[in-house]
Each structure stands twice: as C-alpha cells, then as structure tokens.
C-alpha cells in the first residue's frame, strides 16, 4: 500500500491508499461515486412506486384526498422534523470526525441514532392508530373504511404501507450502519478509514431523508 502526501487536512484524506488506487483523492472519489451509483439504483426502486402513485392520484383525486385526510398530519410533520434533525446531526458527525474530534463525533452519531429510533417509534404509533381504525389492508387484515370512494381509499393505503414500510426497512439498515460505526469509533483502530466510512454512511442517511420528504409530500400534503 502507498502513502501519499496531501494538502487535505481532513481525517478522511489521511492514511494509506489502497493498492488499486494511485492517490487518496482517487480513492475517495471512487468511494463517493460508488455510493451515488448505489443510491441511483435505490431511486429506480422508489421511482417506479412514486410514478404509479402519481398516476393513481391523478385518476382518483377525490378518493386519494379523502384517504390523505385520514392520516395524522402532526405525526407526519413530527417525523419529518425528527428526520431532518437527524440529517443535521449526521452531517455534524462527518464534520467533527474529519476534524479528528472523536468524542464530539460519537455524541453526534448517538444523537442521530436516537433520532432515527424516535422516527421509528412515531411511525409505529401511527401504524398502531391506523390498525385500530381498520385502515390497514395488509397481511390479511380487514379494511373497515366505508363510503363512496372506499376502494380508492383502500388503494391509497396499499401505497401508504408499501412506501412507509419500504422506507422503514431502509431506516433499519441505516440504523444498523450507524450502530456499527459507533462501535468502530469506540474502538478507534483506524481513524482515517472510520472517517471515510462515516462519509459514505452520511450519504445513505441523507438519501433516506430525501426519500421521506418525497413520501411525506405525496401521501400527507399533496391533494389534487
């Protein structure tokens, strides 16, 4: 492995360069580009569902508007605020670890973990409320909403549980990554490598933020 002189003072730019790269700058660019490539494939997964939802929103505006009103806007807003705040703490984790401030980085990372768990707790409360109201047409559960647009409302809730369920799965993956990074920071064996891992994880976490903003907009606030 090579070690190269660099003017970049960030911790992520330090350390030995992996043998397949010529310089740390190239290694970092590859890391980031690889993650963006992965996120683009994720966008393909979510993009199809978003596009289908928009089509049905256009076809059944009344039913989807009626269904959207059944969701709790305060809970949706709280979750959005919590996730946006976790985006801030995650970027501050990256900022502080690059400055070599291990303790601050760990605190910001733990704050991100706590906010992510809070998001899941609020979502679980919301799902429980919808279960009690009979608005959960999944896993063979009865759907009890009646009215002129009952079938359209049912379709909306299929989208709702698919999108929020898929998002929760991504949150769980993200929380697993954050937990692993927290252990790495506690052990502090290869700081420059940990800084680069934080950089990549921060990209994923911010992308989960972006997905939630789209989901919140489509399901909770966009009514035709």
């Amino acid at each position: 492995m090579l070690t190269t002189e660099t003017t970049d003072r960030r911790l992520s730019a330090q350390g030995p360069v992996a043998e397949q790269f010529e310089a740390m700058q190239q290694q970092q660019a590859s890391n980031q580009f690889g993650m963006w490539l992965f996120l683009a494939t994720e966008l393909l997964l979510f993009g199809g569902i978003f596009a289908s939802y928009v089509v049905y929103l256009f076809l059944y505006p009344q039913g989807f508007s009626e269904a959207s009103n059944l969701l709790s806007l305060p809970m949706g807003m709280s979750n959005t605020a919590v996730l946006l705040t976790s985006g801030l703490t995650m970027v501050l984790t990256e900022h502080t670890i690059n400055a070599g401030r291990r303790r601050s980085a760990l605190l910001f990372l733990l704050a991100t973990l706590a906010l992510g768990l809070s998001f899941l707790a609020i979502k679980a409360l919301e799902w429980h409320h919808e279960y009690q109201e009979g608005l959960m047409p999944v896993l063979g559960l009865a759907f009890e909403h009646s009215g002129e647009h009952a079938q359209q409302v049912r379709l909306f809730f299929h989208f709702y549980f698919s999108l929020t369920g898929l998002h929760v799965f991504h949150m769980l993956v993200g929380l697993g990554l954050l937990g692993t990074i927290a252990v790495f920071i506690l052990q502090w064996r290869d700081p420059p490598r940990i800084a680069r891992q934080v950089q990549i994880t921060a990209l994923y976490w911010a992308f989960v933020d972006v997905l939630w903003v789209v989901i919140f907009t489509l399901l909770y606030v966009l009514r035709l």
Binding site: A51, V55, A81, G87, L88, A206, V210, T217, R223
Partner: protein, 87 residues
C-alpha cells in the same frame, strides 16, 4: 460563515420549508396549494442534496451524475403522466 453555522442554517431553512409546505396544504386549495407544496418539497430536497449529501463540495462528475439521477426521475414521472393526462 463557518461550516457548522452553514449546516445549522440549512436545518433551520428545512424546518421553515416544512412549515410552509404543511400550512400551504392545510390553508390553501387548488393550483396555488399544489404549486406551494411541490415547490416547497423540491426546495427541501435541493437543500438536503446540496448541503447534507455534500454536493456543494463534490467534483464536477458527481454533480452531473446526481443532477442526472434527479432529472431521470422527473422524466419518469412527467412522461408517465403525459400519457395518462392526454388519454
């Protein structure tokens, strides 16, 4: 402005946009509400991508790639809707 303040400011802007989007959906109706909700959401996404995903300091290739990703999602939705809206 140091980076810490810039991130803090971005977060405040995001929360303000969230309030604007929710208020727009609750208080307004019709095209104005749709425009406000979509405009606000796009601004939020823009702030997250530029500030929290590091696109502000990324190299040109990454900027082109990220812009392409968002544009292609736009094409997917717009072209699909163009079909349904003109039937």
């Amino acid at each position: 402005m140091n980076e810490f303040r810039l991130y803090l400011l971005s977060w405040i802007v995001l929360l303000a946009l969230l309030v604007v989007v929710a208020a727009g959906a609750e208080l307004l109706s019709g095209m104005l509400a749709i425009a406000l909700v979509l405009g606000g959401a796009l601004c939020m996404i823009g702030v997250i991508i530029v500030m929290f995903m590091g696109l502000k300091t990324a190299d040109a290739l990454l900027k082109v790639y990220a812009t392409g990703g968002v544009l292609w999602l736009g094409f997917l939705v717009v072209l699909t809707m163009a079909d349904y809206m003109t039937r």
